[in-house]
């Protein structure tokens, strides 16, 4: 491969000997193709040092089958658009090295689970983001531009809770990894609930009571069984399980408060 590979190698955080021998010169790649019920299609792709799964998919589209559909944008783990199921596990393909997930040189790529497939490796993310809206995932300001900026002490409990959960980029890996989403289609899912938790801890927000009502209950935080697949798989190392537990605590407390 060309420049793309060199770049991906340069961005790698992993330490690996430069001369690490490649187990085989070819990768055996099986990819989900939609249309007529869907099927798995096999490709053979040359291995390269520091090759990412996204590199593999791109190589196939450029050299073997231009009709292969997949989604990506930044290639550096910032945009959250390239997530797929790689050998059974939801991952960002741009930050997943082939060496790490396919030591035997075999890759099986499928679209993210728990979401409708548009074509090949591309999912319809509408439902995922609709649930952010349903969880009232937007900040509701209480101040105007004429008010002085709010002072939120960085060491305050709320601020620390929000900070711990704020770095989500909405890639959908947690949502695709969650069994509860598979079992309860109405369940808001880890990402939307994690987002709600950051806003419940934002002292400037004006919709915290309404948001708690939107995210509590059997379609919200109370459906979570704390299996922690979301926390296990989150590429940003966030802990949606902890955020959801926080929402359960808030909801339980509000049951004993008159005004909520």
């Amino acid at each position: 491969m060309t420049a793309g590979t060199a770049q991906a190698g340069g961005l790698s955080r992993e330490r690996r000997p430069e001369t690490a021998p490649l187990p085989s010169s070819q990768l055996d790649v099986v990819i989900w193709r939609s249309g007529a019920g869907g099927r798995l299609e096999r490709f053979s792709v040359p291995r390269a040092p520091s090759q990412t799964v996204l590199d593999v998919v791109t190589w196939i589209q450029r050299h073997l089958d231009a009709t292969l559909a997949y989604r990506f944008a930044c290639r550096v783990g910032m945009c959250g658009s390239c997530a797929m199921t790689v050998n059974g596990v939801a991952r960002w393909t741009c930050r997943t090295h082939v060496d790490r997930v396919a030591p035997a040189g075999r890759l099986e790529l499928r679209p993210l689970a728990n979401l409708p497939v548009i074509r090949d490796l591309v999912c319809d993310m509408r439902e995922f983001f609709d649930k952010w809206t349903a969880a009232k995932g937007a900040f509701v300001p209480t101040a105007t531009r004429r008010d002085p900026p709010a002072r939120v002490p960085p060491a305050s409990r709320e601020r620390r809770h929000a900070d711990a959960a704020i770095e989500c980029i909405g890639c959908g890996v947690c949502y695709a990894s969650c069994d509860i989403v598979a079992w309860r289609p109405a369940y808001l899912g880890p990402a939307a609930l994690n987002r709600a938790w950051t806003l419940e801890n934002d002292v400037r927000d004006g919709a915290r009571v309404a948001r708690l009502a939107a995210v509590a209950g059997d379609a919200g935080c109370h459906a979570c069984h704390s299996q922690a697949s979301c926390t296990e798989r989150c590429p940003k190392h966030l802990a949606p399980t902890a955020s959801i537990a926080g929402l359960k605590r808030l909801a339980s407390r509000s049951l004993f408060e008159r005004d909520r």
Binding site: D124, E127, W183, R184, P185, L188, A219, S254, L255
Partner: protein, 122 residues
Amino acid sequence: MRTDRPARGSAHWRVDAWLWLLQRASAAVLAVCVAVHLATIFYAVHAGLTAQTILGRMHASIAWPAFYVLFVVAAAVHAPIGLRAVAAEWLGFGGRRADLVAAAIGIALLALGLRAVWALAR
């Protein structure tokens, strides 16, 4: 495409939240009750207590019947809430029907359990 949306009134989440809380609280009670229950069985078997002796002890003190009433109530609260979730998630059997079935199971557990305690204690 899935069409079901999270739909709830302002009161409905409170019911879910209460059920969740009750299930956790009853689990905490059950953890203690099950431990005491098992320890007592081990003790009774090792000490060679007969059924007659055990019945005698149940009659001798209000503490044992009271303990088992608490045990029965905790189980009757805990089990149906869990079964309701299992029905919704694994059997595709949710909503009002699941609520009613779970409530019936809870009442049955309570009635059978209390009847057993009454039979031993009276």
